[in-house]
């Protein structure tokens, strides 16, 4: 019988139970989430002060210097952009491929996007020398009679990230409206007002459902190319430059797959925290979900590993001197420990562990693994950005290594606070599990007796 329980399709959970699980955290303030929000607020405050100091004293507050013009801010920008890709993968891709187990994890992924993308988008502005003039990059009429330089990949970045932010917020909101409408009569106090305002008079008529389904399908189709373009363009920020280690054709797919890889890791981290905070979610988020998402993670990890090694194998074969110097600098130079942690933590360990179904189905090990992969993916971005600038082109001009300064650390930690605190607050105000999608999956579940074996399958949606 045990193998039957492994099947989510036979999960013994009724629709009212799904409702209770989904809306259980709303309006409750546990001490754990209070502490998390308080700490996040402190981090944001400290980061804001640090940024104010940077604005006042100049970028000398960072650890950057003349050959290493891009540092911790850009690394964290790429990291957050990568994590933000979770939303696209889980929501759009799985929605389009019709994977019915997706329902439990879609909104977690979308909400991660909602908070990580502004965190990512703030970094290019923070990193600018004159942040107050960021609007020079916007194509608005101005007294300088100038358009921005559309040949510059930084301009593509501006458009890509802002498009993705708009699209993912709309995507999240469209799928959130039915839940708000359904829960509105049962809410109390200001939650009722908020839900009423945000649900736009949702009544649940057939026409409204049809529109929501169509909009969700449409957004899934529209957001996928956006999402692919976003991280490809972020990779072009590097690949379009002449720096050794950056100037690589494989950066587009490498960044994209790496983003999905780290994004999925972030979803596992978030799921682990959710299951720890709200044990009732275990009714809805089962080991089957972990198994299925773990398989996706495994495939992404393998793709990432292929592209990652593909990135520097041609450099090694070609034996271009500065590229070889770059490789040795990475593997055996001051970044050797980070590099080998990256190889083990991002490649050897996860791909070995994820090959086992029992591992994929266990909550705590997957949580720990997701943390390791996230750290290793952050190191991968360090590995991409810093060494190339430090060994650039053999003009032995300045060999001072780059280190994070206190200001940079404070600002980076503040964005972590923003993401974690924002997610915690979101869970307390809005349903983090998509009730209507779970209920719909449940309602379409049909059990058929086929020659004595009970088989569950789903009626095809309209």
């Amino acid at each position: 019988m045990s193998h039957v329980n492994k099947n989510f399709r036979a999960a013994e959970v009724s629709i009212p139970e799904i409702y209770d699980a989904c809306f259980e955290p709303i309006g409750k303030s546990g001490w754990r989430s209070n502490i998390v929000i308080l700490l996040s607020l402190c981090a944001i405050l400290i980061g804001a002060l640090a940024f104010a100091g940077q604005m006042y004293y100049g970028l000398g507050q960072t650890g950057l210097h003349i050959p290493v013009y891009w540092g911790g801010y850009i690394i964290t920008f790429v990291f957050w952009i990568g994590v933000a890709h979770a939303g696209a993968l889980i929501s759009a891709l799985l929605r389009l491929t019709g994977a019915e187990w997706k329902s439990a994890v879609t909104r977690v992924a979308e909400v991660i996007t909602l908070f990580t993308l502004p965190a990512a988008g703030s970094f290019p502005l923070i990193h600018m020398g004159r942040t107050e003039l960021f609007y020079y990059m916007l194509p608005v009429p101005n007294n300088r009679l100038l358009w921005p330089n559309f040949k510059s990949m930084l301009m593509w970045d501006v458009f890509a990230v802002s498009t993705y932010l708009t699209g993912s917020v709309l995507f999240l909101y469209v799928t959130l409206v039915p839940d708000l409408g359904i829960a509105r009569p049962r809410m109390k106090g200001w939650y009722k007002t908020l839900y009423t305002l945000l649900s736009w008079g949702w009544r649940g008529t057939a026409e409204e459902w049809k529109r929501v389904m169509e909009a969700a399908a449409l957004y899934s189709v529209i957001i996928l190319p956006v999402v692919i373009s976003v991280h490809t363009i972020v990779s072009w920020d590097f690949a379009m430059q002449l720096v050794p280690g950056w100037h690589s054709e494989v950066f587009g797919p490498l960044f994209f797959v790496g983003a999905l890889y780290s994004g999925t890791a972030a979803v596992f981290t978030m799921l682990g925290l959710l299951l720890w905070t709200y044990p009732s979610f275990k009714k809805v988020i089962t080991p089957v979900h972990y198994d299925m998402l773990g398989r996706v993670w495994l495939v992404l990890g393998l793709s990432w590993a292929y592209l990652f090694f593909n990135d520097f194998m041609p450099k090694y074969y070609a034996h271009i001197p500065d590229k070889i110097e770059y490789l040795y600098y990475n593997g055996f130079g001051p970044y050797a420990a980070a590099t080998w942690f990256l190889v083990i933590g991002n490649f050897a360990l996860p791909l070995f562990c994820l090959a086992f179904q029992d591992f994929r189905r266990s909550f705590l090990p997957m949580f720990v693994l997701s943390i390791i992969v996230n750290i290793a993916m952050y190191i991968e971005r360090v590995f991409i950005v810093i060494p190339g600038l430090e060994v650039y082109n053999g003009l032995n001009f300045n060999t001072i290594p780059y280190t994070y300064s206190t200001t940079e650390i404070a600002v980076i930690v503040a964005t972590f606070g923003w993401v974690i605190g924002g997610l915690t607050l979101f869970c307390r105000i809005f349903p983090i599990l998509p009730y209507w999608e779970l209920a719909e999956t449940k309602a379409r579940q049909v059990e058929v007796d086929m020659a004595g074996v009970k088989v569950n399958y789903f009626q095809a949606g309209e």
Partner: protein, 303 residues
């Protein structure tokens, strides 16, 4: 091989044989261009902002060490990597072939500094401060840059513009040697020669033609088409190798074909010097130029 953008193309030759590494050019550049003094602490962090610096290249082992001094300044590339990546057109190409840097437009993304193979674009990490009497000694012709913008060698564009204006007022062409950047002016050994590459009779063109066999472009594998041409030492033609890859100068000789800089096998990788088969003195300069006597009227629309 390279076609000039306009009627004018300012350029420079740097004779590594003649450079003694005295750094007078560095100091002259600092004085002329109001380059901020960042102080010892910032300098130790690598935020020194010399627009022109002397690269020291060491050869050999201890008893037989040779040092070559290579003044490294903005190469004023014809196809500059810094220009295409700037999102706000702060780095632009001027009509007379300079890499302009417009401080007011710069928002400090520093992408140009990353993309420059020569590491000559400097960023103002701190607010420039001058001790009290010193701010009265600043050059009024040159903008003071604020914190958060990029700056770099301009070929002393303020002197070029002054030369343009003088020539226009007197209704004549710019004379050879009339415009000299501060570094050229300060160079005691005349290692630096500046002038119009478009004028075949200018001192820089003549210097280039006489030394064509040892002229190289730094990092020409990126096809940046620099307008600063290095003349490597006679005694040791491989002396500039550590700055490799160097490309042979392709400009202004019609028989050099239309290959792009770095992709054909250039002789600089071989240990023997790349001597042109044609006699140096009789080679016709500016074979590809539209006219052997370029019209050197005052620059239209200089400002």
């Amino acid at each position: 091989m390279q076609e000039f953008h306009g009627k004018y193309q300012w350029g420079m030759t740097v004779d590594v044989d003649k450079c003694t590494g005295c750094k007078a050019c560095v100091i002259a550049c600092r004085a002329e261009n109001n380059i901020a003094v960042v102080g010892a602490e910032q300098a130790a962090m690598g935020r020194l902002m010399d627009w022109l610096r002397i690269e020291r290249i060491h050869h050999g082992h201890f008893p037989h060490v040779q040092v070559d001094f290579i003044p490294m300044l903005c190469q004023q590339c014809g196809a500059a990597p810094c220009e295409s990546v700037c999102p706000v057109f702060a780095s632009v190409h001027t009509h007379d072939g300079l890499n302009g840097q417009i401080y007011n437009r710069c928002i400090g993304t520093r992408v140009c500094g990353n993309n420059c193979p020569y590491h000559v674009r400097m960023f103002n990490f701190v607010y420039p401060k001058w001790p009290t009497p010193m701010e009265k000694l600043l050059n009024p012709d040159v903008t003071q840059r604020q914190e958060g913008v990029m700056e770099k060698c301009t070929f002393c564009v303020q002197r070029i513009r002054r030369g343009n204006v003088d020539a226009k007022v007197e209704n004549r062409e710019i004379l050879d040697g009339e415009v000299r950047p501060a570094c050229v002016q300060a160079c005691a050994s005349e290692a630096l020669v500046f002038g119009l590459l478009t004028d075949p009779e200018s001192s820089v063109s003549r210097n280039l033609n006489q030394n064509k066999h040892r002229s190289v472009l730094v990092h020409n594998d990126h096809d940046t088409r620099p307008n600063v041409i290095y003349l490597r030492p006679e005694r040791d033609p491989s002396a500039l190798e550590p700055v490799a890859p160097l490309g042979e100068v392709q400009r202004r000789d019609g028989h050099a074909g239309h290959d792009h800089g770095g992709h054909q096998p250039t002789p600089e990788n071989s240990p023997t010097p790349a001597v042109e088969p044609t006699p140096v003195e009789t080679s016709t300069p500016a074979a590809a130029a539209p006219a052997s006597t370029p019209a050197l009227t005052a620059t239209p629309g200089a400002q």
